[in-house]
């Protein structure tokens, strides 16, 4: 179990382990770009838990997939830096992809094959070795045709070349024991469809931790699970984090859950980062949300009555409106309650260019033009 103070004053060294800068991941559908991630910028330090929070379609999962290079539908990643341990995973890939802006229309020229080849080569030493991932649906992300143990030992083998099969089996058993899947011999020969969701998720965690990674990306690891299992899984994650000195990028849509145990929180909306909090001071109320969207998202549980425009948050109904807004404008422009009281040049700025990230205090950043002016 994790002692309490380990969370409170965070024992994290201030060396950015992972930092994503201006990442853009697009999809192309029916003659139009779906800007799943549109210039997202976030960073996390060694040994801390960063929560990436947003609603469905805010591009948090796509961000995670882009970090690991799992986006395989065209055009995919078109721009940005992904620095892991100071090394850019997209080093020199921009020569394969050009973005041309002709006023509002945007043209992307991407050599998919060349990009892919080089990207994979850069990822080889990182993916599955230093960065691993835990997925949302545990059962469907395990191969139904191989037993759990086979897949686990296969993972171990692939990370430690030259290891004998029997050793791999043994360490697989150890890992199963470590995740309280007792007796390991029983679970080793099970198929994913013979186990419950929680058990599958534990196996996934074992697979994610077996290579002794630096960073674990947990993509909504508890959403598909039951209430009672959720807490167990998170407990496990924290326990193992303390044991192996992991950093965790925890993606979730459930703020209440996240506020419980993370260090920093990043709120995403429509593929951009809106605000970044130190969770501790947010919990004890010493800092409060400044961005209208973040405030709406966080305070939503206290309110009994709806704010006006609450139902507008899902964009699917308002596609035609979003198309009228420039792709460079602030993503929240359509819903921003302050639009009316903005000054002329400010509103022009909101419409014309993406807001910068402004530091309010330590670890508290907002990307909104209103504060850019103050700062």
């Amino acid at each position: 179990m994790v002692p309490d103070q380990k969370l409170n004053h965070n024992t994290t060294i201030d060396r950015p382990l992972l930092s994503v800068e201006g990442l853009k991941t697009y999809f192309f559908l029916q003659n139009d770009f779906i800007r799943a991630v549109d210039g997202a910028t976030l960073w996390m330090n060694q040994g801390e838990i960063l929560a990436l929070v947003g609603e469905t379609g805010s591009g948090k999962t796509i961000t995670a997939h882009s970090i690991l290079g799992l986006v395989n539908s065209a055009p995919g990643i078109v721009h940005g830096k992904i620095l892991f341990e100071g090394r850019n995973l997209l080093e020199g890939l921009d020569r394969f992809c050009r973005i041309e802006n002709h006023g509002e229309t945007e043209i992307v020229r991407k050599d998919l094959k060349g990009w892919d080849k080089n990207h994979q080569r850069r990822l080889d030493s990182v993916r599955g070795r230093k960065i691993t991932m835990i997925f949302q649906e545990p059962v469907s992300s395990l191969d139904p045709y191989y037993t759990v143990g086979e897949q686990l030992s296969e993972t171990i083998l692939s990370t430690r070349p030259g290891e004998s099969r029997s050793n791999a089996r043994d360490s697989a058993h150890e890992w199963l024991k470590e995740l309280y899947l007792e007796p390991p011999t029983y679970y080793f020969d099970k198929y994913a469809w013979q186990l419950s969701g929680g058990e599958c998720q534990r196996v996934m965690i074992a697979m994610a931790l077996a290579p002794r990674p630096e960073l674990v990306i947990a993509d909504e690891p508890t959403t598909a699970l039951d209430a009672s299992t959720q807490t167990e899984i998170i407990r496990l994650l924290l326990e193992l984090r303390a044991k192996y000195k992991l950093s965790i990028l925890f993606i979730s849509h459930d703020i209440n859950l996240v506020l419980g145990f993370t260090h920093k929180m990043v709120v995403m909306f429509n593929g951009r980062v809106m605000e970044r909090f130190p969770v501790e001071s947010l919990r004890n109320g010493s800092c409060e949300a400044l961005h209208p969207y973040a405030r709406k998202l966080i305070s939503i549980d206290e309110r009994e009555k709806p704010l006006e425009g609450d139902d507008d948050l899902n964009l699917a109904g308002r596609k035609e409106e979003t198309q009228t807004v420039s792709s460079r404008a602030c993503k929240y422009l359509l819903f921003c309650p302050y639009v009316s009281e903005l000054t002329e040049d400010l509103s022009n700025r909101c419409k014309s260019s993406p807001p910068p990230q402004v530091q309010i205090e330590k670890d508290h950043w907002v990307s909104c033009w209103r504060f850019a002016r103050k700062a």
């Binding site: 994790v2 969370l7 899947l181 007792e182 009672s228 407990r235 419980g260 145990f261 549980d301 899902n314």
Partner: protein, 327 residues
């Protein structure tokens, strides 16, 4: 007018091939559950997936014949109703289904989805039906542009609303909502809750709301039952949820997903091993009372019965009253 569920039991036989006799023990989805819902009462049924709450919903809406037990509507069993009475029941008791991607026929426009309700239960003409549909959408705050769309053109939240509209098109006296909030974002969930509250205060229909987390029914329901593995563990008024006087450890876990609760729960206490089948209390494997009372034997030996702890607060646990004394 009330709905009463009496000792409902439902077994699902394992899929039987030819030559494989049914010696395989059938899966007990619902195991001797009984509760009753008064008129104009919102009754919440909370539990993990696979605890049998959907089975209960489907038997209450007469889509599934229980193995044993009965469901009474106005004191009359819904499985022995005559045709006319049953048709009336179909009109008065309506359900919202679980999966928004599949309870709307992907090839049918929304207009016809709603229109079908009127076609089945009323003898309105085309024009009147369209009129009624438009009124309904106005009431639910849905834009009329949806009428021409197909389900795949809507977001999950909108599909949910359409499902609600479909259920309330002809105002029922009783609503069965199976996971009406599953898979929704917080904001959309909120909005849907507000809509349901408003309509309930307007039309005063009773409801059986099924959900997997306690929070979503907190300010919707009047009474809540917590289920686990086909049994009801705790049954209490919403007031005791508000001032946190719930006693069963499982309910406390469910409640614990509130902020500081989550914190304490996640940080204190050890990860428990995966649950095995027991003859005793079904919750034994992850019960912390069981730990703190150093493993009393009655928990292992007998399945606890649902018994009254305080006025209209029932718990099925051997240890809860002891825990109460110790407080």
């Amino acid at each position: 007018m009330r709905i009463e569920v009496k000792n409902l039991v439902k077994h699902f036989p394992n899929k039987s091939w030819i030559l494989s006799s049914d010696d395989v023990p059938a899966k007990k989805a619902v195991d001797d559950v009984s509760f009753s819902i008064q008129e104009k009462e919102m009754f919440g049924l909370i539990g993990d997936s696979g605890c049998g709450k959907t089975t209960i919903a489907r038997s209450v809406s007469a889509l599934l014949r229980p193995t044993a037990g009965d469901v009474l509507y106005d004191g009359e069993s819904i499985f022995e109703m005559n045709k006319r009475r049953f048709k009336k029941f179909r009109q008065e008791v309506r359900a919202i289904f679980q999966n928004p991607d599949s309870y709307l026929n992907p090839h049918v426009r929304i207009r016809d989805v709603i229109g079908e309700v009127f076609k089945t239960h009323t003898s309105l003409r085309r024009r009147d039906i369209d009129e009624a549909t438009r009124d309904l959408f106005g009431l639910m705050g849905l834009s009329l542009s949806f009428l021409r769309r197909y389900p795949y053109q809507l977001s999950i939240g909108q599909k949910r609303k359409i499902g609600l509209a479909r259920a309330l098109a002809i105002v029922p006296r009783f609503l069965i909502a199976d996971e009406p909030f599953a898979g929704l974002d917080i904001s959309t969930k909120r909005e849907l809750t507000w809509i349901m509250q408003r309509l309930q205060q307007k039309y005063k229909f009773g409801a059986l709301v099924i959900s997997h987390d306690l929070e979503s029914v907190r300010n919707l329901c009047h009474r809540v039952a917590v289920m686990y593995k086909g049994r009801i563990l705790e049954l209490f008024d919403i007031s005791s949820l508000v001032n946190k006087t719930v006693y069963h450890p499982y309910t406390q876990i469910l409640l614990g997903r509130k902020r500081e609760g989550a914190r304490t729960l996640i940080l204190k206490g050890k990860p428990c091993p995966s649950s095995q089948e027991t003859i005793g209390c079904s919750f034994l494997s992850s019960c912390n009372l069981y730990e703190s009372f150093n493993h009393p034997h009655e928990c292992i030996e007998s399945q606890p019965k649902l018994r009254t702890l305080q006025d209209n607060h029932q718990v099925a646990c051997h240890l809860c009253d002891r825990a109460l004394k110790d407080r």
